[in-house]
């Protein structure tokens, strides 16, 4: 545990050096990066040690905060979440140096560095905390750091709006958690997690109420479907490496909290598993559908986070069903699928966000429609992003496939069938996969293929290796987990078994049945990619001695084609968007060309978020109107104020006498 404290201290130091050394940017960047890397590597080494089966003595120290004490411990669950925290922080932090260098003048580097390092440290503390007060303090620091990162460019009105939505959501979440821990703590008479777990009520309305609180509080952070609305607002506007951290890791803290809560419950009603399955199915399908309708690359990725959180929820739902039916294999399958997807999503989503940041800086904007032809102009960024896109679609041989495979297996395999509803979830997951593939062919195709649609795309070029290196590292990690899933699945399974307190119940069932086909499918996928590479090599070899010319695409004989006549992302997605119009409610403004010599025509389509734009904002506008009406009472006239006092006095006298 000393190592953990050392790592946290290093991360905090990385945060604190960023301000005093701000006058010398090169030194500041190097110093804080070195400290960040040292902290992350120390912490990651410790986490890997625990995951490999090592034991770490818990740490306890008194703390003057009321009810609080510095209780830190590392069990496999904590360690498993520490891995993505430190890995992504290291990759995104390194990338961030290059990113901040290129964004100089638009972003305050020391500000971003400070909150980035502090965010990493606070998450690590929250994950290891065994005292509710310490957990909440870590959680709140994390939420505030994320808020400041979201608001890094607070001169733009949309950034301020996003920050406002985010802080409202995160504080609603923490309010739920306060109530949750207060109730649990008052039952236990202590804020230690161990005492709380012992004092939890048995199955019944009280336990269900606590679960509902946990689901709301942690779900708001994780972005389950009805609570997802802050994600597409907040993630796009943060600096890209911070978005990677937010989407890749901060969301997972909600998952961690929920898993920690479930691990405290001695009995899990079957309804919880079904609720989680339903949330997972709706989050994944709706998340990917709304992603399909976006034109802003980072907003699209944010909706994909909702989808992947849905997949994680499906895994957790399976695990809960396994717990309530006493099916050890299902517990292991479900929770290890969820945990592995946590790790996988944090890798490929941060990879995609880092790629999106590179595109963003090259294009000067996040709109997909203005890009095109970037595969030739930014080959490395595009290659790494391709890996991320393939992984997020769940294609073998990348890591997304492994965890989705485990979820499928848990939903469909005969020996773990406990609920017929799992079928629906499997169907939803299949549809999600298909739509995700459609969505990423759209985004990736519009960005990288074809011809540039604007001057910015024309001039785009790859960033330096400070930014490409971390992307390469994350891409290699995605491929590595996909090709050699065994150790990672084993670590996740060990975690899942501690979650379900399995050592007693079923003697740790093995996932052999689920893993056997995995290697085969993975190698087939790898073979397909190798084959494609081989063909490409053959092509290069055959074309070696010849002159290769590039001509315009044949445009049906039209004599003046322009790059604007390519398929756009919206037109690519339009058939699907129309098919799901009942869910998406896309708003289009279309001024068609008229006459023989049309002057001006326009088409615009955007998809408002169903919760934020269609429900919450109108509701709050109406509430505001009501308050404005009440505000007429406050008009500054002394006489009327006195009249209020007078009327109130007479009323009280008449009422009480």
């Amino acid at each position: 545990m000393r190592l953990f404290l050392l790592s946290t201290a290093l991360l905090t130091a990385a945060a604190t050096v960023s301000f005093p050394s701000a006058s010398r940017p090169r030194l500041a960047g190097g110093l804080s990066l070195a400290l960040l890397a040292a902290g992350c590597l120390t912490g990651a080494a410790l986490a890997l040690f625990v995951l490999a089966g090592g034991e770490v003595a818990p740490l306890g120290a008194p703390w003057p905060v009321p009810l609080g004490s510095l209780q830190l411990a590392l069990d496999p669950l904590s360690a498993f979440f520490l891995v993505p925290i430190y890995t992504v922080a290291l990759a995104a932090g390194t990338y961030g140096e290059g990113y901040l260098e290129r964004a100089r003048g638009r972003l305050d580097a020391s500000y971003v560095r400070f909150f980035f390092s502090l965010l990493t440290a606070s998450m690590a503390v929250a994950v290891c905390a065994r005292n509710a007060v310490l957990f909440l303090v870590g959680w709140e620091i994390m939420a505030l750091c994320a808020f400041f990162l979201v608001c890094a460019q607070d001169r733009k009105p949309e950034v301020r709006r996003a920050g406002f939505v985010y802080i409202l959501c995160t504080h609603s979440a923490i309010l739920c958690l306060f109530v949750l821990f207060a109730v649990m703590g008052s039952r236990a008479g202590s804020m230690e997690f161990g005492a709380m777990a012992a004092a939890l009520p048995g199955p019944g309305p009280a336990l269900n109420g606590l679960f509902a609180l946990a689901l709301t509080g942690f779900g708001l952070k994780a972005g389950f479907m009805p609570f997802h609305f802050w994600l597409p607002e907040a993630h796009p506007v943060a600096p890209s490496h911070a978005s990677a951290m937010l989407s890749g890791v901060v969301l997972k803290m909600g998952i961690y909290g929920l898993l920690r809560f479930i691990s405290m419950c001695s009995s899990v009603p079957p309804a919880w598993g079904l609720v989680l399955l339903a949330i997972g199915a709706s989050s994944s399908v709706l998340g990917v559908l709304f992603a399909l309708a976006q034109h802003d690359l980072k907003r699209l990725l944010a909706y994909h986070s909702i989808e992947n959180i849905g997949i994680i929820a499906l895994g957790m739902g399976l695990g809960c069903l396994g717990l309530s039916h006493g099916n050890g294999l299902l517990v292991t399958l479900g929770f290890s699928a969820a945990l592995l997807h946590v790790l996988n999503h944090s890798l490929f989503k941060s990879l995609l966000f880092l790629g999106a940041g590179a595109y963003d800086q090259a294009l000067g904007g996040r709109a997909i429609e203005g890009a095109g032809g970037l595969l030739r102009r930014m080959p490395w960024t595009s290659t790494f992003s391709w890996v991320g896109a393939a992984a997020i679609c769940g294609l073998p041989p990348f890591n997304g496939f492994v965890s989705e495979w485990l979820v499928y297996y848990g939903l469909l395999a005969r020996e773990v069938r406990v609920s017929q509803y799992a079928m629906f979830a499997a169907a939803a997951l299949a549809m999600t996969g298909a739509l995700a593939a459609a969505c990423f062919t759209k985004a990736y195709g519009a960005l990288t293929l074809g011809e540039p649609r604007g001057p910015a795309a024309e001039r785009a070029a790859d960033p330096g290796w400070t930014m490409l290196g971390p992307m390469a590292f994350l891409a290699a990690a995605c491929l590595g987990i996909g090709l050699l899933p065994r150790p990672f699945v084993d670590a996740a399974a060990r975690c899942a078994q501690t979650l379900g307190r399995m050592s007693a119940t079923a003697g740790s069932p093995s996932l052999e049945g689920a893993l056997r086909p995995l290697t085969l499918v993975g190698s087939v996928g790898a073979l397909a990619i190798l084959l494609a590479g081989l063909f490409w090599l053959c092509r290069t070899a055959l074309l070696a001695g010849r002159v290769v010319g590039a001509g315009p695409t044949w445009g049906c004989g039209f004599t003046a084609p322009t790059p604007r006549m390519q398929y756009t992302a919206s037109s690519y997605a339009q058939p699907l968007a129309r098919a799901f119009d009942g869910l998406l409610n896309e708003v289009t403004e279309f001024a068609p060309p008229t006459g023989y010599w049309p002057r001006r025509a326009s088409f615009e389509a955007h998809t408002p978020d169903p919760v934020l734009d269609r429900a919450l904002l109108p509701a709050s506008a109406r509430a505001e109107q009501a308050f404005v009406r009440a505000r007429r009472m406050q008009h500054g006239r002394l006489q009327y104020y006195l009249l209020y006092v007078f009327a109130f006095l007479v009323f009280v006298l008449l009422w009480k006498l």
Partner: protein, 214 residues
């Protein structure tokens, strides 16, 4: 003795009505002074009391402050700030009088229902003190100028004083002196405030204060 005290009490209410209906600023101040004098002699007749030094002192203080000093300050203010002699009510004089009638009725009802400390006191004392308080509040609400609000405040304070007479014997006299001093200080401060309002806004209409809102 009882007749005299009741006469004085009724005179207080009538003076209140006169204040509600009066249109001249200095007339209001004079009526206020008269009410002050009425109240200052009231303790002698109310409690069938030996004319203790304390009662005399209180009455003298009351008469000096409310009958003489405060009205002098107010009249001085009217002259100095060159306030128009008109009261300028928000509620007209006749409606004000009608509201005054309602107030008196309401306070009779309330006075009967109000639990009081035991002791023989005139049945009119509580309703009239309530009525005076409410009239004072109504004056502050319904009159526009800061000075009339001061008058309303003083009428309100007279009502409180009447109520205090109920527990005259139990109240230490230092407290009563303190209350009197408070009133004096309040009027003094209000006088200064009026000066400032008039200098700032070229008027002492309190509705000009809405400019200060936010």
């Amino acid at each position: 003795m009882d007749q005299i005290s009741q006469l004085l009490l009724v005179a207080t209410v009538f003076l209140g009505f006169a204040l509600l209906g009066s249109s001249s600023m200095s007339g209001c101040v004079n009526l206020l002074a008269l009410q002050g004098y009425c109240l200052s002699v009231l303790p002698f007749f109310l409690h069938h009391e030996e004319h203790s030094a304390r009662a005399v002192l209180l009455a003298a203080g009351m008469a000096f402050l409310k009958g003489w000093l405060v009205p002098r300050i107010l009249l001085h203010a009217i002259r100095e700030v060159r306030i128009a002699r008109e009261v300028e009510p928000l509620v007209g004089y006749v409606p004000s009088l009608l509201i005054g009638v309602v107030i008196v009725g309401l306070s009779v009802v309330l006075g009967q229902r109000l639990p009081l400390p035991p002791g023989n006191h005139s049945g009119l004392l509580v309703p009239i003190s309530l009525a005076t308080m409410m009239m004072g509040l109504f004056l502050t609400v319904s009159r526009l100028k800061a000075l009339t609000q001061v008058i309303g405040y003083l009428v309100f304070e007279n009502g409180i004083y009447l109520f205090g007479l109920l527990v005259f014997r139990e109240t230490p006299w230092l407290l009563e002196m303190g209350i009197l001093l408070d009133v004096f200080a309040a009027v003094f401060i209000l006088g200064i405030v009026i000066q400032h309002i008039s200098r700032q806004f070229d008027s002492i209409h309190t509705d000009k204060l809405t400019q200060l809102k936010e």
